[in-house]
């Protein structure tokens, strides 16, 4: 007699595809100095995707407020700088929308300064700009932030090092192994070719996918320009890792 169907269902897990060659940075990239003392030095152990890895935290509309996604409306006054809309879709590699997933973002202000105690860049803070947002994607995987275009800023990685303007994005996806933190860059930024973080990704096309595109259709007349940034999370393997065919 077969085991109960229920038990077979619970042990059949469809894993996620591993990242495509050269699309993800290595841990050690000496051009980015901080990797040297923080990258693992011993071999990684291959992790099968079990129930623990294909599940992950589930968030809901209670976890976000509407002002969380409009960074120009989080204070009494208006922040300084160029207002922009940043929007796009979160999809998986199979082009399926990642629905109702938490998206977090943070960034510098228009002058290139973060509201953070260790940022001592000699540029002004903006009392009306925190630089932090979050939103839950809709049923089609769409998200939309209204914010201020961040400024470039110097860092101490090497002589006269400047980070290109960027917005940090944190994505949860549906399963834990879809988790992704990345940075969105802006089109035509001359600092990109000098930036070790951007260049830590060896595949040129993969690098270019981190650059947003100017998005005329999402502009708000007389108010804001717009950039589009679609983010792709891992997709499911075509077949379950183990099948029960008893």
């Amino acid at each position: 007699m077969n085991k109960p169907t229920e038990e077979r269902i619970t042990t059949s897990v469809t894993g996620y595809r591993r990242p495509y060659f050269a699309t993800q940075p290595a841990y050690l990239y000496p051009g980015y100095r901080s990797t040297v003392k923080r990258a693992p030095t011993r071999p990684l152990v291959f992790l099968p995707h079990t129930l623990s890895e294909v599940t992950g935290p589930v968030f809901g509309y209670d976890d976000v407020k509407t002002t969380d996604s409009d960074l120009t409306r989080q204070h009494d006054g208006e922040p300084l700088g160029e207002r922009i809309v940043v929007s796009g879709r979160i999809l998986d590699e199979n082009a399926r929308p990642v629905a109702h997933a938490l998206v977090e973002m943070w960034q510098a202000n228009a002058a290139g300064r973060y509201r953070h105690a260790v940022d001592d860049h000699d540029a002004p803070l903006d009392p009306n700009f925190t630089g932090v947002g979050r939103i839950l994607t809709d049923g089609e995987g769409r998200y939309r932030f209204v914010t201020i275009k961040p400024g470039a800023y110097p860092w101490r990685n090497h002589y006269n090092a400047w980070r290109p303007a960027h917005v940090h994005f944190s994505l949860f996806g549906i399963g834990l192994v879809q988790r992704l933190v990345t940075q969105m860059y802006f089109p035509g930024d001359p600092l990109l070719e000098y930036d070790p973080m951007y260049n830590s990704v060896t595949d040129e096309k993969a690098r270019q996918r981190m650059i947003s595109s100017f998005d005329w259709e999402s502009t708000i007349p007389d108010i804001a320009l717009a950039y589009r940034y679609d983010i792709v999370l891992r997709g499911r393997d075509a077949t379950p890792m183990e099948t029960s065919r008893s």
């Binding site: 979050r134 940090h168 983010i231």
Partner: protein
Amino acid sequence: MSLLTTSSQTVGPYVKIGFEPFTVVELAPAGVAGERITLSGRVVDGDGKPVNDAVVEIWQANAQGKYAHPEDAQDKPIEAGFRGFGRCLTDAKGSYRFTTVKPGRVPGPGGALQAPHIVVTVFMRGLLKHLITRLYFPDEASNAEDPVLTLVPADRRATLIARRSPNDKVALEWNVILQGQEETVFFDY
């Protein structure tokens, strides 16, 4: 397949402003069933220095071994108020701390049960992509047959097993060592 996964980039030195608003260090409010534990430790870099700008996230099943997620089809109850997700930013000493309940065993490949474990994700400046590791519990006979722990070379397994605090029965201690002889096992996920 039609698309490729977006490249990972580091959280950078200012991750605190982005992640702190969604900090969760107490996972199990009153009323959630299970053995209460505290879990704490330090994150240490290749020079043995505390990492004061790291973020530790944890993901776990409830005490029954059930994940609060639609793909966990086991016929077991989920618990109101227990999401199973924690996030802690390390302090000046590189320390993190959670209070939660000990997870139950969850199914693994082939239907065998996994030993109780917590999946741990670590972010910081200097990590171009996050690390994933697992925390296991001391004095667990099932560790010996866990389908993931047994993939780890035997001489490194101890790096994934928390220690019971000598002073406090419910306290577990576990450090994330980024490099060196005692380097924590990290997974290729």
